[in-house]
């Protein structure tokens, strides 16, 4: 059995899955608003959403730590409810991941929603279907490719999380030691065998995910092409 740190891999997959799912639920309404609104604040909000793309992860981690720490209102609220602190815990890491991967989900969502034909939505309304139902029956299926892309990107991006996880998570085995931190640890300990195997696994699985995404995207874009 090759030396691989399975605990950190399972933890990282769990983190990526949770982050992607949360971003689907939280990101879609935000993306829908960004795609449709003409509110003057829109450019500012879009810039904020894009911040994690350009900010160094350590800067992001620093601010997240400030935001979630025991001195902050959010941190104190969490502590009174659960009795534990947000930093150095898995839920705290989830919050950091969601922020870190936010643009990777929201930007593809927004682009996909923008591309949906306005007239199709209007036609649905004129046919007596509510805005809510129209979203589920028309907008979402029409933007399926973008939604899937955003979800997968958020998942893959979280798999590689290092800087933010280190700042906010504290490298605690089985709780916040993500696979990239584990690899970093192995290299520091000069355990190149573990580092090598774990890295190869990460590389291989990321490639597979992206390959699968590309293969299925064709179907998502035009499933009807299979008929003719």
């Amino acid at each position: 059995m090759p030396p691989i740190d399975w605990t950190s891999i399972v933890l990282t997959i769990r983190l990526a899955l949770v982050t992607a799912l949360i971003l689907l639920v939280v990101g879609m309404p935000l993306a829908l608003w960004l795609a449709r609104t003409r509110h003057p604040l829109r450019p500012a909000i879009e810039a904020v959403v894009a911040l994690p793309l350009v900010l160094p992860p350590t800067v992001l981690g620093f601010y997240v730590l400030l935001m979630l720490g025991p001195a902050s209102p959010l941190g104190r609220f969490y502590e009174t409810i659960t009795g534990t602190l947000l930093p150095f815990s898995f839920p705290g890491l989830v919050v950091a991941s969601v922020l870190f991967s936010l643009p990777f989900a929201v930007q593809p969502f927004t682009a996909a929603f923008r591309a949906v034909s306005r007239e199709m939505e209007e036609a649905s309304w004129c046919l007596g279907v509510s805005h809510w139902s129209t979203f589920w029956r028309i907008t979402a299926p029409q933007s399926r490719a973008g939604i899937v892309a955003g979800g997968v990107l958020a998942f893959s991006h979280t798999l590689g999380e290092f800087g933010v996880a280190l700042m906010v998570g504290g490298n605690i085995a089985g709780v916040t030691r993500t696979v990239s931190i584990s690899i970093y640890d192995s290299v520091q300990a000069m355990d190149y065998a573990t580092a090598g195997w774990t890295s190869a696994l990460l590389l291989g699985s990321s490639f597979l995910i992206l390959l699968l995404l590309n293969l299925t995207q064709r179907n998502l874009h035009a499933p009807w092409l299979k008929r003719s």
Partner: protein, 271 residues
Amino acid sequence: MKFFTCMLLGLALALALAGCSPKKRDAGAQTPLRVAAASDLKFALDELVAELRAKDSAFVVDVTYGSSGNLKTQIEQGAPFDMLLSADLRFPQALVKSGKAASADLFPYAVGRLVIWIKKDSPLDLANLQHKALLDPAIRKVAIANPDHAPYGQAAVAALRHFDIHDAVAPKFVLGENIAQTAQFVESGAAHAGIIALSLAVAPAMRDKGRFWEIPLNAFPRLLQGGVIVGATKKRERAEQLRAALTSRHGQEVLRRFGFIMPDEKRDAAH
């Protein structure tokens, strides 16, 4: 509508995964003892921990290695470690001062030693040149631990000043985030020489890969290694067991084998 139900299921799954963690079964005997340890202890502590586990399979210790200063800061911010083992006693002392630990739980366990390390195939005659080897133009990069928060880095800087070569060597510095990374820099060849802990130089991973010269103990302030049990710990019994293991005769033997000297010894080790 199918899409919608899928999403609801997904959300439920997400919340379930996020919330329930098998490790959250709190304070029970299942959770491991979480130790924050200075990187120079890596090989010595790993061995001790393995021995403890062999004797009692329920005694699981999870060690997070890092720079002593960083680990202290994390504990101050609430990181859930049960113990801090630091390469410099003043960090555990700082924890006591900030109220995170009781002074009765402080304990020294070793004194660290410093070496200059070069790769095996280097032509330099380290034994004779000693510290002057660092001035050789063939040594273009010298790795030390970051003096901002790593005790070994601070000791390295002090030693270089003692020999009056700090300003000449400083332009060649490559800073490791902790002493283990520093060792890794030299071991991989990224730096041509390094000032690292003796405990790492004698470790199996490095032993056969290079040569070293020990810096005399009087060239830098004493690296008194000390630990403390964190006040908020829920595993006090286990923590005390580990402390006992570290300070026991057998524990001291293991530490000696990895190049540490004991706090009460005064000799200047021969190289």
